[in-house]
């Protein structure tokens, strides 16, 4: 107990003789990273789509922590510095053959693990941003990516996510193994920062918190500048701007108005030419309104956009080319939604996209806007 009470000194040694190895920066970094990576992994693997924001914030926070660690690796105290645990294959060989003398810091294998984890989380953050830009069409890369490249990034992102799980498992195995071998609880050392005294030749380095703070502020400013520049890039392949009021009124009378990007131009032409027999119903319009709406639909049809929805529904079903809901992709995406849910009176069938997609009218279909409403209480 008094070990912890006495750890205030910076000299490295405490009253009980234990030595301060991990500074506060390293420890805080380590445990916050555990929390954020766990949060990102759990929400990514198990969360429903509308938890995306949680996943994103966990990911941003993990990336920010990595940025801090990279700076701290150059400015932190002795054992925080990368120079105290350089990646070295010779060191790993010596360690494996038992010839490496254990110092205070990371052993050569542990050091490799640190670099591997830092690298994989950086790669996860980058592929995640790319997926967000290309597939979800949000974030700083929205204007700089394509849907196709986003799909590839998504696959890499998922592969790397499994990689992190594997690395963490190895890391835990290593910590347990080394703790046994060194007869010292290494996980606790990462909490208290303290280890038993032992011979160690690492050159002492003082932490440079002011330099670190300035470097981080510089990084933050650069990130802000890049993101605000990227946000202003034009992205004509993502629906934006006002929709045609006439479309919203006339095509919204009987069901959610379906955004033009959800069907190809040929389907819209056909729908607008056959309004007098519209899915078994007369939905005819006077010629002027019909032409206005048709021209707007055709000018904004799926072929003009590169969103997930446009890419998914661009290829209509051969038998029912006028239905978005008949496409194989639409059915696959909605596989998990029970048929009874669509049948609910307050939802009104699959054609009423807006019942569950808060942004259906915009054509964006953002994961964050998906919400299957709670069934209303029966009142008769």
């Amino acid at each position: 107990m008094d070990r912890i009470a006495n750890q205030s000194g910076t000299s490295g040694e405490t009253a009980s003789g234990d030595v301060r190895v991990w500074d506060a920066g390293v420890r805080l970094f380590h445990w916050l990273l555990v929390i954020f990576v766990a949060g990102a992994a759990l929400s990514g693997f198990f969360g429903p789509k509308n938890w995306l924001d949680f996943h994103l914030w966990a990911g941003y926070a993990a990336a920010a922590l990595i940025a801090f660690r990279l700076v701290w690796g150059l400015t932190g105290a002795t054992h925080a510095r990368f120079s105290s645990f350089p990646p070295s294959l010779a060191g790993v060989r010596a360690h494996l053959s038992g010839k490496h003398a254990a110092g205070y810091g990371h052993n050569p294998l542990g050091a490799l693990m640190v670099y591997a984890l830092l690298a994989i989380i950086v790669a996860l953050a980058l592929t995640g941003l790319w997926t967000l830009g290309g597939v979800v069409r949000q974030g700083p890369l929205a204007a700089l990516s394509s849907y196709a490249s986003g799909r590839t990034a998504k696959e890499i992102h998922e592969f790397l996510a499994w990689g992190v799980i594997g690395l963490v498992a190895l890391h835990l195995g290593g910590v347990i193994f080394e703790s046994r071998r060194e007869k010292e609880n290494l996980a606790r050392a990462m909490v208290t920062g303290l280890k038993r005294p032992r011979p160690d030749s690492t050159p002492k380095r003082a932490a440079r918190p002011v330099v670190a703070t300035l470097a981080l502020l510089g990084l933050a400013a650069a990130t802000f500048a890049i993101v605000s520049w990227a946000d202003r890039l034009p992205a004509p392949f993502i629906p934006s701007g006002p929709v045609l009021a006439e479309w919203k009124a006339e095509c919204g009378d009987c069901h959610t108005p379906h955004h033009p990007s959800l069907l190809p131009a040929a389907s819209w032409e056909k729908i607008m030419a056959t309004l007098d027999d519209h899915f078994g119903e007369d939905a005819s319009l006077d010629a002027g309104a019909m032409e206005n709406i048709r021209d707007w639909l055709v000018a904004n049809a799926a072929g003009h956009y590169d969103t997930r929805a446009a890419n998914s529904f661009r290829q209509p079903d051969a038998a029912e080319p006028l239905r978005i809901t008949a496409t194989a992709r639409w059915k696959r995406i909605h596989d998990d939604v029970p048929a009874e849910t669509f049948k609910r009176k307050d939802i009104g069938g699959p054609v009423n996209c807006a019942a569950c997609h808060g942004d259906a009218e915009s054509g964006l279909f953002a994961p964050q806007k998906i919400n299957i409403p709670k069934p209303p209480k029966e009142s008769s």
Binding site: E281, D282, S284, K345, I347, G348, N352
Partner: protein, 141 residues
Amino acid sequence: MKHARAIAMAIGLAAAAFTGAASAGPGQDAIIAAWADKAKAADPAFSGFDAAAGKAFFFAKHTGGGAETPSCTSCHTDNIKKSGQTRAGKAIDPMAVSVQADRYTDLAKVEKWIGRNCNSVLGRDCTAKEAGDVISWLASQ
């Protein structure tokens, strides 16, 4: 003259209120008058709309239209003071003017929907008389 008409109207309104029969407001009256013009044009012998016939028409099962829409009540339900639902699942406001005051006040809207709905239910246009009968009845509810 002017005064006499106003007094007569006031008496008429009071009588309508007294008997409890809701009467159509001025917006609805203009719409019904427009349909009366059409009915006269189609049939010089036209002598006025018949709300009771309109009610019967609204509830009747028709043939010739879509299989899922044999009646006006298919979407508007048989309680016109309650909300209905389109075949595509969207709620339709009640049809009775007493609960939905802005009903039958926009001629283009009424013409559009009478055109569509008659075709869906009967497979043909409604005659001006049929339409006027129904609107007269709906507007009085």
